[in-house]
C-alpha cells in the first residue's frame, strides 16, 4: 500500500463527517430555528423538557460528541501538504497543529454544556439557562483558532515561492475571506438580538455557512492534490 493510499482513506472521512455534522445540525431542535438569547429561563427549561425535543437534543449532541473532533485528520492532511511548500522553517505547519489541538476541543466543550443542560431537565430553570448560555456562547464565540487556521494557511500559501506551488493562490484568498466571515461571531456577547446575537445572521448563519463552505472547498482542493500525488507516485513506482 502506497503512503498516499492511507491519506485517501483519511480524506474520505471528510464527506462522512460532513454528512454527520449536517445531520446533527438538522436533528438538534435548537439549530434550524436557532434558539433566541431573549428566551427566559422558564422558556429555555420548557424547551429542554418538551418530550418532542429532549430525545433529539440528546441524540444529536451524543453524535456530535463522537464526531466534533472529526476534522482533525483533515487538518493533518493540510499539514502534510504545507510541509511540501518551499518554506525554510516548519513554523506554519506547527501552527496548524496547534490550531488543530485547540479549536476542536472548544467545540467539544460546547457539546458537553448542551448535554448537561439536557441531562436533568427537571433542574431549576436558572441552572438550565446557565448551561444553555454556556453552550451557545462557547459554540458561537470560539472562532479564534478557526480564524488563525485560515490566516496561517493563507500566509503559508503566499510564501510558498516555487515554480509550481502546492496550493494555487486563490486558495489563500478564499481562506482569508472565510476568516473575515468568522470575525463577527467573536462579538456574540454584545447583543441579545440582531445580526451579532447568537441566533443572528452574522454570528449563526454566516459563520456556519463559512465553516461548511471551507470544508467543501478544502476537501475538493485536498482531494485533487492527493490524487495528483498518487499518480506521481504510481509513475515513480
Amino acid at each position: 500500500m502506497r503512503r498516499a493510499d492511507g491519506e485517501v482513506i483519511l480524506l474520505w472521512t471528510l464527506p462522512v463527517v460532513g454528512i454527520i455534522w449536517i445531520s446533527v445540525f438538522l436533528l438538534f431542535p435548537g439549530f434550524v430555528h436557532p434558539m433566541s438569547p431573549t428566551m427566559s429561563a422558564e422558556e429555555v427549561a420548557a424547551f429542554y423538557r418538551d418530550p418532542g425535543n429532549l430525545p433529539r437534543i440528546r441524540y444529536s449532541m451524543i453524535v456530535f460528541n463522537w464526531f466534533a473532533v472529526g476534522l482533525i485528520p483533515i487538518l493533518a492532511l493540510i499539514v502534510l501538504q504545507m510541509r511540501r511548500m518551499a518554506h525554510r522553517t516548519p513554523i506554519f505547519s506547527y501552527a496548524i497543529i496547534a490550531c488543530a489541538a485547540g479549536g476542536p476541543t472548544i467545540f467539544l466543550m460546547a457539546d458537553l454544556f448542551w448535554l448537561l443542560a439536557a441531562f436533568r431537565p427537571e433542574r431549576d430553570p436558572e441552572l438550565i439557562l446557565l448551561f444553555n448560555d454556556m453552550a451557545w456562547v462557547t459554540f458561537s464565540s470560539q472562532v479564534g483558532f478557526l480564524i488563525a487556521q485560515s490566516v496561517i494557511l493563507a500566509l503559508a500559501i503566499f510564501l510558498d515561492r516555487q515554480p509550481r506551488p502546492v496550493f494555487e493562490r486563490w486558495v489563500a484568498h478564499f481562506n482569508l475571506l472565510v476568516a473575515v466571515a468568522m470575525v463577527p461571531a467573536c462579538f456574540v456577547g454584545l447583543a441579545m438580538e440582531g445580526p451579532i446575537a447568537w441566533d443572528g445572521l452574522l454570528t449563526f448563519w454566516l459563520r456556519n455557512a463559512a465553516v461548511g463552505l471551507w470544508i467543501v472547498v478544502m476537501g475538493i482542493v485536498l482531494g485533487r492534490l492527493i490524487q495528483r500525488q498518487r499518480a506521481a507516485e504510481g509513475v515513480a513506482a
Binding site: P37, A86, H87, R88, T89, P90, I91, F92, Y94, A95, I96, I97, A98, C99, A101, G102, T105, I106, M109, E126, L127, L129, L130, D133, M134, V137, T138, S141, Q142, V143, G144, F145, L146, I147, A148, Q149, V151, I152, L155, L159, R161, Q162, V183, C186, F187, V188, G189, L190, M192
Partner: protein
Amino acid sequence: MSDSATGPEPSGSLLQRIGWHWRHDPKIELWLAWWTMVVFYNLFGLLFFVVTRTQPPPKPWWGPERVVQWFEEMHHGLLIGFAFVFLISGMTAIMNALLAYSIRRMSVSRAFAYSYLVIYALSTLPGMLLLGIGVTVAAMRPDRDPEIVRWLYDFAFMTFDGTMGVFLVGSLVWMVAILIDKNRVFPKWFGYFCLCNALTEVVVAPAWIFNEGWVFGWNGVITWWFQVFVFGTYTGVFITLLRKMILREDFGTGPLPELATDGAPERSGPMQAAR
C-alpha cells in the same frame, strides 16, 4: 526562488520596508511569528489590564451582591474586551510554533519541541478562554440569580489563575532543552529562569484553598503579584532572546553563530542582509 537576489534593505517608508522584507527576507517566516508575539502580548496587556480590568483580579472574598455589582460596573468593558480576546486567541498558535521551532533549532530530540507545542496549544483553553466564556456569560445577563453569577465569577477567575500544570510542565520541558542544547540557541541562565517561571506555578496552588486573604487568595501577593511579576519579566526576556535567535539564524543544524559585535566588520553572505 525570489530570495536569491537579496540586496540590502532599502530605505524608504515603513510600508516599503515591510514590502521588501515580505518579498526578499529569507527569515520572513520567523519575523512574522515574532511580530505576532509582540503584537499579541501588547494587546493582551491592554485588554486584560485596561479594557476588561480583570487584571489585577477583583476580590475572591466578595459576596454575591458585590460580584453582581462588579459585573454591572464593568459590563461593556468585559463584553467588548473579551470579544477581542477571542478574536486574537488564535495568534497563540503561531507564537507556540515559533517557540517549538527554537527548540527544533537546538541539538536536542524533536520530542521536546513537540511536547512544548502540544502543551501550550492546550494551555490557551483553560488558561485564557474559559475566563472569557465565564465572564461573557455572566455579563450578558445581569439579572441572573446572584449565586449563579458568583459561580461564573469563580469559574472564570479560578480557571485563569488556577491553571498551573500546563505552564509548569511546559516551562520545564523548555528548561531541559535549553540546558542540554549544544547549539547555544538560548543562554544557559535562561534555562534557570524557566525554572523560576515553573516554580511560580507551584506557589499559585494555595489560591485553590484560600478564598480570602491578601497573600494566598487568587489576587494575593504570592499567588498573583509575584507570579505576574516573574511571568512578565520572563516574557519580556524570551521575546528579546527570540529576536536575537532570529538575527543569528543561519538555517543550519550546528551551533547558532554569535551576532557580529558593534564595530566589527559584518560577515558577508545573504543572511547578513536580513534584519
